[in-house]
């Protein structure tokens, strides 16, 4: 079963990292990613640019699509990144969520909708090392 882990972070919290701290942070994330890939659970993961880089397309009831600069919601907490995992169950997904090396903020864990009954099969590729499972 697939789970999406979304990382919610406070963008006002500007982190003045020394080059050494930045390197350590990168290493921690690399380690987490490697571990998840080795376990055969990692499908996709990315960190996003700040929400100031966002463009939002509003879908009107009429079908019109209006493009505006900025994120959907101007909240202090924003999506900072995500991780899509293939896990046995919610417990396994939560174990991985606890290991995400986020220094501050929250990790929301949500199951992906199974639409196979409606004949829809997700085109997302299997985990990088699916054979390991």
């Amino acid at each position: 079963m697939k789970y999406l882990l979304t990382f919610v972070v406070d963008e006002r919290f500007a982190w003045e990292a020394t080059p050494e701290e930045a390197r350590e942070t990168i290493e921690r994330w690399s380690e987490f990613d490697r571990e998840a890939v080795e376990a055969g659970v990692m499908i996709a993961t990315e960190a996003l640019e700040d929400s100031s880089s966002a463009t939002t397309i509003a879908i009107e009831a009429s079908g019109d699509r209006a493009v505006t600069d900025g994120p959907f919601a101007e909240s202090k907490e924003q999506l900072g990144g995500f991780c899509l995992l293939e896990c046995e169950n919610l417990d396994e997904a939560l174990e991985w969520a606890k290991k995400v090396p986020l220094r501050a903020g929250h990790i929301e864990v949500r199951p992906v909708r199974d639409l196979s009954e409606l004949g829809y099969v997700s085109p997302t590729p299997a985990p990088a090392k699916a054979a390991a499972r």
Partner: protein, 134 residues
């Protein structure tokens, strides 16, 4: 260049939909998915279960990692799904975003960070390149 398209909108609205109408709705999503695959831009995309199924884990030190029921924010509009696309620029990403068959809500488009300059090596192999349509 990679872009994340997040699909945000009010939840529900499908309670009175017949199975046939739902199947017709899915055809639109399949078509969009197939077009992104054929164009070689599709990396990943999923629809999520409702926000009430969410659990939230607090970040920080190990002892601070408390798990709570529900989404991070109890807002009317919630993340409903996403696409991760490989596009040549923002304009191309916006063109795809305009075609996402969402009926109500918004699509937020954001570039993905490039950490390679900081020494980050992506541990994925096959999963790191766009899936190609047949």
């Amino acid at each position: 260049m990679r872009f994340m398209l997040t699909l945000i909108g009010p939840e529900g609205g499908y309670e009175d939909v017949t199975p046939d109408q739902m199947k017709a709705e899915m055809v639109n999503w399949e078509k969009f998915g197939a077009e992104t695959m054929d164009a070689g831009v599709f990396l990943a995309g999923e629809g999520l279960q409702p926000a009430e199924t969410a659990k939230t884990v607090r970040g920080g030190r190990d002892e601070e990692r408390v798990v709570t029921d529900g989404p991070f924010a109890e807002t009317k509009e919630q993340l409903g799904g996403f696409y991760l696309l490989e596009c040549k620029d923002l304009d191309e990403a916006l063109e795809w975003a305009k075609r996402v068959p969402i009926r109500d809500g918004a699509v937020e488009v954001r570039p993905v960070m490039d950490y390679e300059a900081m020494g980050y090596e992506d541990p994925r192999d096959a999963g790191a390149t766009p899936a190609q349509g047949s």
